[in-house]
């Protein structure tokens, strides 16, 4: 068994790391990415698009994967060099008549190895016959491709509607007896994704603040999705009645508040 080591696959840096852009359904939108190579060796880079991979399962997401054109799409970067890659977003013809306000994709920035893995690029007979003869029978080779995935969120401003519903606020004893677990349920009833943030304050019966926590997530809530934000808070030091007030902000004009009362018993239970 023979092992052949080649040099390190080099790191490139991509900016921006997330693309949230307003586009027009009728005409192309232009933009740029900055790719830089801070290392001491040249890097070969390839840029393409891919589907958006979000964390919530069973979601049908309108895709903008086929809308992008990059110039250049493949290039080499000298050590310490940077390159501005221009992209053109051309929405599909049916977008004009579609109802969706947001389309998603991912921009994939790959660092290609110096030794290309010359194999068939497709499963057609012609491609297979042109595959490199370097692959001697009985041998196996693995190529690693470091990849940065830039999530893309494209919105149509005329259809944009930001709405959020604070569906519920619950409290129970947490995973250990000295913790309270709060759950703030949010439902995105709008047409574009939101990244809500907020705070939770525990007030005693007298109205003094006992505990406070920031809550929220930077992961987006997509349209139609429901999300529960958890918050772990130390159990109040004494039994009694308390109030929990949550404030959630998803946009400058989108502020929600909700308050519940609960009781901590001397035994440490929560009612």
């Amino acid at each position: 068994m023979t092992f052949l080591f080649l040099t390190t696959a080099l790191a490139v840096e991509v900016s921006p790391t997330r693309l949230e852009q307003a586009i027009s359904a009728d005409q192309p939108t232009l933009g740029t990415l900055e790719i830089s190579n801070p290392s001491s060796r040249a890097a070969r880079v390839q840029i393409q698009t891919g589907p958006y991979r979000y964390l919530e399962p069973k979601f049908r997401l309108p895709s903008a994967e086929d809308w992008f054109q990059f110039e250049p799409a493949a290039f080499s970067l000298a050590p310490g060099a940077s390159l501005t890659v221009s992209y053109t977003i051309t929405p599909a013809a049916n977008v004009r008549d579609d109802a969706a306000a947001e389309y998603l994709a991912a921009i994939l920035v790959d660092q290609l190895p110096e030794e290309p893995n010359v194999i068939a690029r497709s499963n057609s007979d012609e491609a297979i016959s042109q595959a490199s003869p370097q692959n001697v029978g009985g041998q196996a080779k693995v190529t690693f491709v470091p990849r940065f995935a830039v999530p893309v969120y494209l919105t149509l401003p005329e259809r944009e509607k930001k709405e959020l519903e604070l569906a519920g606020l619950t409290v129970r004893v947490g995973e250990s007896p000295d913790l309270l677990r709060f759950g703030v349920a949010l439902k995105n009833t709008g047409t574009v994704h939101l990244r809500p943030a907020g705070s939770l304050v525990i007030l005693s019966e007298a109205g003094t603040a006992v505990e406070s926590r920031t809550l929220g997530r930077s992961l987006p809530i997509l349209p139609g999705a429901t999300l529960e934000l958890p918050a772990l808070v130390p159990m109040p030091g004494s039994a009694g009645r308390y109030r929990a007030a949550v404030t959630v902000q998803a946009d400058e004009a989108l502020l929600l508040q909700k308050e519940i009362g609960f009781e901590v018993t001397p035994e440490g239970a929560v009612k």
Binding site: M1, F3, L4, F5, L6, T7, T8, A9, A11, E13, V14, T17, R18, G50, R53, Y54, L55, E56, P57, K58, L61, D110, P113, E115, N117, I119, A120, R121, N123, I128, N135, V136, G137, G138, Q139, A140, K141, V142, T143, F144, V145, P146, R147, F148, A149, P151, E175, S176, L179, R195, A197, G216, R217, S218, L219, L229, P230, L232, P234, G237
Partner: protein, 326 residues
């Protein structure tokens, strides 16, 4: 009979830390604010001193922030002591707050529930080596002794000025060149190594320190012994269950999926490392930031099983190592 009276030691004052708060995710040049509430249950005003101590999780070196936080707390009252520090070296730290009274006696100590992460915005990914020639695959299971080293750096703010969630995941990208056996009733997965003619595939598995149960449960001390043996089904397939069968979710060697098999459900991914404070699979009382990262660089190992139906030929794989944050 002789009685020896020793001077009484300093009696502990009834001082307690009520609550603590601090910035969790800070640029190296920014001020970090610490707030400590100290309750005095004594009948007289008491001096309180809090020596905020940071412990670097990688080097395990302790750093006591100076000047220490001090203040006088009125009898029966709670005082909130606030201070800021700057120019703390980059790194991830656990935080503890030992409280001392005016006599220098430690009367209380609280540990912060979340770490402090200090750094500069960056996002890099390197893999070494770029290409591995595996040579001839032997029949049966074989681990390739070449460790694959992944260097990474990730430091981004989210909207709450906390750690931005991210993952580094691995998958093969073979769907375009895998065509299966013409006329076959079933199309196998394109994941792993694909033959030069695109007809056959041999799955690949990987292991890194994040996979497999710990030594108490699995009996394998990975920190000492490295990757577990592939010949033991307990590590390759999963430990046996009392009621029969195997616990597939506790296998040490895990399959590398193909991009075409991955969906929006993260269960279909193969995540090497990451941090996600909102995925309940990783968040616990002792790990509230959902951190399952490994120190950079971390290594992973590959293995394959050429079963009795494996076909002779040249096989290749493009494995994508992807850094992804939403």
């Amino acid at each position: 009979m002789t009685f020896l009276f020793l001077p009484p030691a300093f009696a502990q004052k009834a001082l307690r830390i009520g609550s603590v708060s601090y910035d969790q995710h800070v640029h190296s040049t920014e001020l970090i604010k610490f707030t400590v509430a100290v309750k005095n249950n004594e009948a007289t005003t008491q001096f309180a001193e809090v020596d905020i101590t940071l412990t670097n999780v990688e080097t395990e070196q302790e750093l006591t922030l100076v000047p220490v936080l001090t203040g006088n707390v009125l009898a029966g009252q709670e005082s909130v002591l606030v201070t800021t520090y700057q120019n703390i070296p980059d790194g991830t730290y656990t935080v503890s707050f030992p409280l001392f009274d005016g006599d220098g006696v430690r009367v209380d100590r609280v540990t912060g529930s979340t770490p402090i992460h200090i750094g500069t915005e960056t996002e890099t990914l390197q893999v070494f080596p770029e290409v591995i020639h595996l040579g001839t695959l032997p029949p049966g299971r074989a681990m390739f002794p070449t460790p694959i080293e992944v260097r990474w750096a990730f430091y981004r703010f989210n909207r709450l000025r906390l750690d931005q969630p991210f993952y580094i995941r691995i998958y093969s990208d073979n769907a375009a060149r895998y065509r299966g056996v013409r006329g076959a009733l079933r199309r196998n997965s394109p994941a792993g190594l694909v033959s030069a003619d695109g007809r056959f595939a041999i799955p690949l598995k990987l292991w890194n320190l994040n996979y497999g149960p710990d030594m108490q449960e699995g009996g394998w001390d990975a920190a000492l012994a490295g990757p577990p043996p592939v010949d033991d089904d307990a590590f390759w397939i999963g430990p046996e269950l009392l009621e029969g069968g195997r616990n597939l979710g506790s296998a040490n060697w895990v399959r590398i999926p193909d991009l075409s098999e991955m969906t929006s459900d993260p269960v279909s991914w193969r995540r090497l490392i990451g941090q996600d404070p909102f995925d309940n699979r990783y968040v616990s009382d002792s790990n509230q930031t959902g951190d399952f990262t490994l120190k950079s660089p971390f290594t992973l190992y590959l293995a394959a099983e050429a079963g009795p139906t494996a076909v002779e030929g040249a096989y290749t794989a493009n494995l994508v190592v992807e850094l992804w944050d939403p």
